[in-house]
């Protein structure tokens, strides 16, 4: 006799519906992990191949010249049966030495049949410097403007048409494509204000682009401060500004800063806005090698994202150029990843710490 089938309405029966449900569940799980795998593939590829450029087996384990030198042209040639790769400066020195040696031996000067690849030797130091300068400057501007706007919107503003217009503008500004910011910066700063391609133009363009992110983040942080803090302070006779300064901002500041780090990652990562406003393809001088202090602000710089664009589109893909291409992408991604990761971790930490 078979075991009696339990016969009550809550029994689990395998049915077609349950099968479909299981299938849908697994489909969605697959979609989720597919996205994660795709993202990690990109990261993994660049970290693996870029790591070969940036790290090395012997002491100091990091490829210091790559991080501290300016880009150079790479010469690939054959000399006395050996395949050689030399940067621009080394190649000239080598050629002179070889010529001198041949002359001493009474032979004709050796001929070098070279293939050259621009930017493929040397390092990316000027790009790192330029990116840091761009990020620091534009984020300072964006933070000042953004935090002040957020304070107004959260602490002072009432629901008037003017304030609604401001909120609408912020929402819409967040949706403007970055290349349009680039055009705008070009039209306003580079041409109309005649700043030329300069740090200053890049700063303002990037700052305006990231402004909505900073405002939204700051407002959220301000909102998280409980109302009681303000009311208590006001009840003790403090003015509005004293309340904000002593009783709101100190508690909101960590939140503002951590959320704004995400803005930093965005600023560091954007290429389109600086293409016509701040970035040079190549520049020999480092930014602080200027004659006047004012020149500092009106000079273009090299920047990592733009350099990646240049090395990946303007020079061919082969074994000699992959070194600099992947190396640059690695360094850039590393910087952005550290920024983004620290923001995510800090925020999770803060969420746990501040609970009113």
């Amino acid at each position: 006799m078979p075991a009696p089938v339990p016969n009550h309405p809550f029994v689990t029966r395998s049915s077609r519906g349950r099968l479909i449900e299981g299938a849908v569940f697994w489909l969605m799980r697959l979609a989720t992990y597919f996205v994660l795998v795709c993202g990690l593939c990109v990261l993994g590829d660049i970290f693996l191949k870029g790591g070969r450029t940036v790290f090395q087996a012997e002491f100091p384990y990091v490829n210091v010249p790559f991080l501290t030198q300016a880009p150079e042209t790479l010469y690939v040639f054959e000399h006395e049966g050996q395949k050689m790769q030399l940067g621009d400066r080394d190649f000239r020195a080598f050629r002179e030495a070889a010529t001198a040696k041949a002359k001493a031996a009474g032979q004709p000067a050796p001929q070098f049949r070279t293939e050259s690849y621009v930017y493929s030797a040397g390092g990316i130091w000027p790009c790192i410097v330029g990116t840091v300068l761009l990020v620091v400057g534009s984020m300072s501007i964006a933070l000042i403007l953004g935090v002040a706007s957020a304070i107004y919107l959260n602490e002072y503003a009432k629901d008037t048409p003017g304030v609604r217009a401001i909120r609408l503008a912020i929402l819409n500004l967040a949706g403007v494509p970055s290349i349009v910011f680039g055009l705008f910066g070009f039209g306003l700063f580079v041409i109309f204000l005649d700043w030329n391609v300069s740090l200053l133009a890049g700063w303002f363009t990037l700052a305006f682009m990231v402004l909505p992110v900073v405002i939204t983040a700051s407002e959220e942080a301000l909102k998280a401060v409980p109302k009681g803090f303000r009311e208590g302070s006001l009840a003790l006779g403090a003015t509005k500004w004293q309340t904000i300064r002593k009783n709101v901002l100190p508690y909101a500041l960590p939140g503002i800063l951590t959320s704004s780090i995400l803005g930093i990652a965005r600023v560091a990562g954007e290429t389109a806005p600086i293409m016509f406003t701040a970035a040079y393809v190549v520049r020999d001088k480092l930014p602080w090698e200027v004659e006047k202090v004012s020149d500092f602000f009106f000079q273009g710089v090299m920047a990592l994202p733009y350099h990646i664009y240049v090395v990946s589109s303007k020079i061919p893909q082969n074994e000699y150029t992959a070194r600099v291409q992947y190396g640059t992408a690695f360094v850039f991604l590393f910087i952005v990843a550290v920024i983004a990761l620290s923001s995510i971790l800090l925020r999770n930490h803060l969420r746990r710490r501040y609970q009113w």
Binding site: V24, I46, I166, L173, I191, W241, E270, S313, A340
Partner: protein, 533 residues
């Protein structure tokens, strides 16, 4: 006895005189200060609009001038003939294609040798040759009179340059130098008459062509397969249509007038509906946004068709099924993916994905996919896949928020009525958060359509409207996009030239498309917000 000095009255804060600046108390000043900063967003948005228009608006005037000179120099007239020739060429190409297929069929496995196959196609070759020769006289006209038209245009532009130089000399007070420049005016009527005067020749040539084409395709050679025969019959039909269209074109040339004014709207419509974006050409520059717009749309369509199922699926999974620990793993990772800079993704596309996709497309078992295999490494598909990776985090985050906002009570009520989990999700939770999900998709679209570096690096950058006649194969063709063209050409153009202004107008279009998408997303969220209670 001296009176002791009165003790200093205690200072109460309440008695302190308020500092006033311009009639405002300190607190009001601070408020105004912050309010001023808050206005930045409005000001920036206004400035963007103003400067885009300031640089771009002159384009329409310049484009009208561009079109006017195109007409007055007689290029428009010659273009009718050119088009006649071009259509003929495309027919010839069709014929060559048939011949190639027939040859492949004949020399295929177990087939004949090459000379035999060629011999078998002798009839077809005769047709090809006769058809090709028919257009020779027209080709001669095009090259001869095209040169005349280009000459007129060149002289006109030179004159403009001279006039400009003269004006500058005069403005600088250098009268002698200004006097030295003489601008010989161009008599368009007489010049163009040199071209239009040859109309009887054109007419005779056109008639000959029509007759020749019609008689050539009268007799069709036999081809080995019915499929090829069918293609040849199709060719016959196309060739007859072509021959019949020649009369209309001749009529168009007969009634053509060099001095017919170019209406102001045409400068606008030529941009919006123009099917060519052609710059720095020897003949005539065209600024039509359609190929770029279609390219942008196509890349976005690919990206969204990948990103929407993935993003929304992931959002539903994380929100409804995933355990807490899984959530804590997935959410930050996706957020992290969104931080990958687009230029790095573009580089990845060039270095890895392009090759990988091409290799995948050449796999045997995928041959049924339309468009596979493809030869171009960088095309709309490559760019679309990478853009999908950009759009997924946006869609995921916003859709997850929307799902989160559905009140718990909805779900519980559904379970209480005996609905299964899947039913609850599909019938209750997703519809309740639909507005949020749609706006998430729209914002994802906004993100994708405005993305520059990925499409600039990976979309292939060929300015042409993809050939949709072949169905889905259009999606693996290289395209160019609105964002890409700005990024690519802005660095090279002369400031103030028509090309420069055209790029700004593309920027204006992009700006308003982005605003429209944003506006729709907000409107949908606001209108369909679920009311709880």
């Amino acid at each position: 006895m001296s009176v002791p000095p009165p003790a200093k009255a205690p200072a109460f804060a309440i008695h302190r005189r308020r500092t006033r600046i311009l009639g405002l108390s300190l607190d009001q000043c601070i408020q105004a200060f912050f309010g001023g900063h808050a206005l930045t967003a409005v000001i920036v948005l206004t400035l963007i609009t103003v400067f885009l228009f300031k640089e771009g608006i002159d384009f329409f005037g310049q484009n009208r001038e561009n079109l006017r000179i195109y007409r007055q120099s007689g290029m428009e007239y010659v273009d009718v003939l050119r088009e006649l020739e071009r259509d003929h060429t495309s027919l010839t190409r069709y014929l060559y294609d048939i011949r190639l297929r027939a040859l492949q069929h004949l020399t295929g496995p177990g087939g004949r040798s090459l000379p035999e196959a060629n011999a078998a196609l002798a009839d077809l070759d005769a047709l090809v040759e006769r058809f090709g020769d028919a257009v020779v006289p027209i080709r001669g006209f095009v090259s001869d009179y095209g040169e005349v038209a280009v000459g007129i245009k060149t002289r006109f532009i030179e004159n403009q340059d001279f006039a400009e130089a003269k004006r500058q000399y005069l403005a600088a007070g250098m009268v002698a130098e200004a006097e030295a420049i003489t601008v010989a005016p161009i008599d368009f009527k007489a010049e163009v008459a040199a071209i239009t005067g040859a109309f009887p020749e054109f007419e005779a040539g056109g008639r000959d062509l029509a007759r020749e084409v019609a008689s050539t395709v009268q007799q069709l050679p036999a081809l080995p397969t019915p499929e090829l025969q069918h293609r040849l019959e199709r060719f016959q039909q196309l060739a007859r249509e072509y021959a019949a269209s020649i009369d209309g074109r001749l009529e168009q040339m007969r009634t053509w007038q060099w001095d017919r004014p170019v209406p102001a709207t045409q400068a606008f419509t030529a941009f919006i509906f123009g099917r060519q974006w052609l710059t720095a050409s020897f003949w005539q520059d065209w600024y039509g946004i359609v190929p770029l717009f279609v390219g942008s749309l196509m890349v976005s369509a690919i990206a969204l068709s990948l990103a929407v199922p993935l993003g929304i699926g992931a959002a539903i999974y994380v929100n409804q099924f995933a355990s807490r620990r899984e959530q804590q793993l997935i959410k930050p990772t996706i957020e992290f993916i969104s931080a990958i800079p687009s230029v790095v993704l573009g580089f990845f596309g060039i270095a890895v994905l392009g090759q990988a996709l091409r290799a995948l497309s050449q796999a045997e078992w995928l041959a049924w996919v339309p468009g596979f295999p493809f030869a171009e490494r960088l095309n709309a598909l490559t760019a679309g896949c990478l853009l999908a990776l950009i759009a997924v985090p946006t869609i995921f985050t916003l859709a997850e928020d929307a799902l989160n906002n559905v009140p718990r009570a909805f779900r519980e009520a559904s379970y209480a009525l005996g609905a299964s989990r899947l039913q609850t999700i599909l019938r209750i939770i997703v519809p309740a958060s639909l507005s949020g999900i749609i706006s998430a998709v729209l914002l994802g679209l906004g993100r994708v359509i405005g993305e520059t570096m990925v499409v600039l690096l990976c979309a292939g950058n060929r300015i042409a409207i993809p050939d949709f006649t072949q169905g889905l194969t259009a999606f693996v063709q290289p395209v160019h996009t609105m964002t890409g063209i700005i990024a690519q050409e802005m660095g090279e153009v002369v400031r103030g030239s028509i090309h420069y202004r055209a790029l700004f107008v593309v920027g204006i279009v992009l700006f308003f498309v982005a605003l429209l998408i944003n506006f729709l997303a907000q409107k949908i969220v606001r209108r369909h917000r679920i009311s709880i209670g």
